[in-house]
């Protein structure tokens, strides 16, 4: 067993309100500098930057988690994060199928830029990603867990777009963990592992809320086992 620094909640240039030059490569390089072992990318309602992220993590030797931050129909943010890229891309496609189309407004939300595996800006998503899908909270959690992903209600102590602000309570579901901005003892008592995540939308925010967790080894499999394995192992 050992202690490893993880940070599953990060954005890139693809996310609304993230900086245009905040590529998956910049995220990975800075996370490595900050001593992170396991890094997740979780753009809002899209997985289009995950291929670049995979390459970036390979180059700097980080364990990648391939994620997405889904906005549910209740406007609750949920992190879904996979050990492998293929099921993450399939999940992203399912989310996109349930995202109503509005054109993005660059002036308000910034550009939504896709990078390729060589680090070049190659495309721009025209659909507004900063809106809610038609997927229910429980439906997202359930599908994520069935597909072997981590399912984590995001920043549950935030005043907007969180399960506590929007539903008023935390439904009893087999979450992999819960994410908080500010750890407090009352969250520990909810019965789930409590994680923090940086929710970085720009370079300066990388690693600001990473957290340390005990794992059997430095691997994605060990993190999945530690969080999802609890349900049958504890």
């Amino acid at each position: 067993m050992g202690l490893y620094r993880i940070d599953l909640h990060n954005h890139s240039s693809l996310s609304p309100c993230a900086e245009d030059d905040f590529s998956p490569f910049l995220l990975a390089i800075e996370a490595k500098e900050k001593g992170i072992d396991i890094l997740g990318l979780s753009d809002h309602n899209s997985t289009d930057n995950l291929k670049a992220f995979a390459e970036a993590c390979k180059i700097v030797d980080l364990i990648p988690f391939f994620g997405i931050e889904v906005t549910t129909i209740e406007e609750v943010h949920v992190l879904v994060s996979f050990q492998h890229i293929a099921p993450a891309l399939a999940f992203g496609s399912w989310v996109n199928d349930h995202l109503p189309y509005y054109p993005n407004n660059e002036k308000l939300f910034g550009r939504q830029l896709i990078y390729d595996e060589e680090g070049n800006q190659t495309a721009e998503v025209e659909q507004m990603l900063a809106t809610a899908t038609t997927l229910g909270f429980e439906e997202v959690i359930d599908k994520a867990l069935r597909e072997g992903a981590l399912a984590i209600p995001a920043h549950i102590d935030r005043g907007s777009n969180s399960v506590l602000s929007n539903l008023g309570f935390l439904p009893e579901l087999p979450y992999s963990a819960i994410e908080v901005v500010t750890p407090r003892s009352e969250f520990e008592e909810l019965g789930y592992p409590v994680l923090t995540g940086s929710d970085a939308h720009r370079f300066e925010e990388v690693g600001i809320r990473s957290c340390v967790i005990e794992l059997s080894d430095r691997s994605a499999k060990a993190l999945i086992a530690a969080l999802n394995g609890r349900r049958c192992g504890e």
């Binding site: 406007e75 109503p100 509005y102 407004n105 308000l108 939300f109 809106t131």
Partner: protein, 108 residues
């Protein structure tokens, strides 16, 4: 009525009143911004508890000139800054959406 006339409505506190005479022709009450996006009509006042800058973005996209925060919610400074740059006015009320709408309705 125009946004400026809202200053006369009892119980409303002004946090930012934009320049110009933006019309207020209707009221839309909603806390789910995706529902507001889908249903609010241009030139409505948006009555909501969503006191953050994304609400300003939604109002700007839809052409809603004023946001009224209900139930005693107050705008954070970054929301007021966003409202200034988008020429959107922000008021607040200690009353709920229904009572706030009732107070505004005679002025429409």
């Amino acid at each position: 009525m125009t946004v400026k006339d809202l200053s006369q409505v009892e119980g409303l506190k002004a946090h930012h009143v934009a320049e110009g005479d933006q019309a207020v022709k209707d009221i839309y009450c909603g806390d789910l911004l995706s529902d507001v996006m889908a249903n609010a009509q241009e030139d409505s006042a948006l009555l909501t508890i969503q006191a953050h800058k994304n609400t300003v973005a939604v109002a700007s996209l839809l052409g809603l000139g004023v946001i009224v925060l209900c139930n005693g919610r107050t705008p954070p400074s970054d929301m007021i800054e966003a409202a200034k740059s988008e020429d959107i006015s922000i008021f607040s009320s200690s009353a709920n959406h229904y009572k706030t709408a009732l107070a505004i309705t005679p002025f429409l």
